[in-house]
Point group: none
Chain length 92, copies 5
């Protein structure tokens, strides 16, 4: 009984640490989208009349670059809210 609780504590600690690690993926979209925005600003600064074309492509591109950040967020939430319940079943 004692060891069962200890096992659960270790598994839960792992879930929490794993969730935190998964969010590190957010570094990527943060940098990438910032660079995309930077280029959009330069293009608008040079040719203000193409602001619409540039902005629509920027939004499309950022949506693509955001995906891996969302994967990380989803995995983090799974590790906080879904995995602990599943793992507790394995530990009886």
């Amino acid at each position: 009984m004692d060891f069962q609780l200890l096992a659960k504590g270790i598994a839960l600690a792992g879930c929490a640490i794993g969730a935190g690690c998964a969010l590190i993926a957010g570094i990527g979209p943060g940098i990438g989208e910032g660079n995309a925005v930077a280029s959009a600003l330069e293009a608008i600064g040079r040719q203000p009349e193409c602001k619409g074309d540039v902005t629509s492509t920027m939004l499309l591109g950022c949506a693509i670059a955001e995906t891996t950040g969302i994967y990380g967020f989803v995995t983090g939430l799974l590790l906080i809210f879904v995995a602990p319940g599943m793992f507790m079943n394995f530990l009886g």
Copy 2:
């Protein structure tokens, strides 16, 4: 009973470490937004009359780049304020 406390201590340590890790995601928006601002400044320096267009797109872009940093912050707060209570239930 003793092991229960030890298990709780380990689970709480995991939550705290995970919360810290989740915040590392903030590196990305910090760099990316800085680069976006840099390009905005160059565009304004070259064509001061387009300051409004550039600034509005800069704010839109930074809002997008900020998202993954906010995911990390939210997850960090979840791990500090929500997860410990949930996890304590699993540890009886």
Copy 3:
């Protein structure tokens, strides 16, 4: 029996931490796709008439750059949903 549970707890913690680590791969596509989008925006800003060509190649390229992020996501899900069941069998 006691040690069996402890062993399971440690194995599950490993799965959760491993899943989180796997998602870190998402940094790459996030940065890379952002840079690709940045160049697309510059090209469109210079020659708005080639927006179609540039966008289609951008989407093709981002699909390629996304692959490693998907590998990480798939591995993370395997470590959360498949590996624990397999590992529990080894621990009887």
Copy 4:
């Protein structure tokens, strides 16, 4: 009783490590804002008359880029000053 102290020690260690990790986020704003300032200086060096416009946008932009660093700082302070008290309650 001994195990209770051990559990508290582990939980507090986790808080301290997590707080340290959260501050790693400061890498991002540090680099990004530095780049923004660099571009501001170049723009002012080229066209000194636009110093006011450039400086005001630089300050706005740096305030945005600073946010993720502040998230990390706030989380770090929470892990040092708030979380230990909360966590000690869970450990009786």
Copy 5:
């Protein structure tokens, strides 16, 4: 018998964490391929008539850059599906 199970649990945790770490390699191809795509887009923007040549070389180059991401993925899958069975034999 008890310690044998504990040893197996630790070994399995190591496999899972190692699998996650192996996937971190995906950062590289993600960034590199994005940069390659970026340059392809710039070339197409400047000389749209060479789109075919540029795209075929881009695909060849990305196939090369992808290799290390695939190494990481294969190693991750080996650590999840093959290594645990082998390692359990050693712990008989």
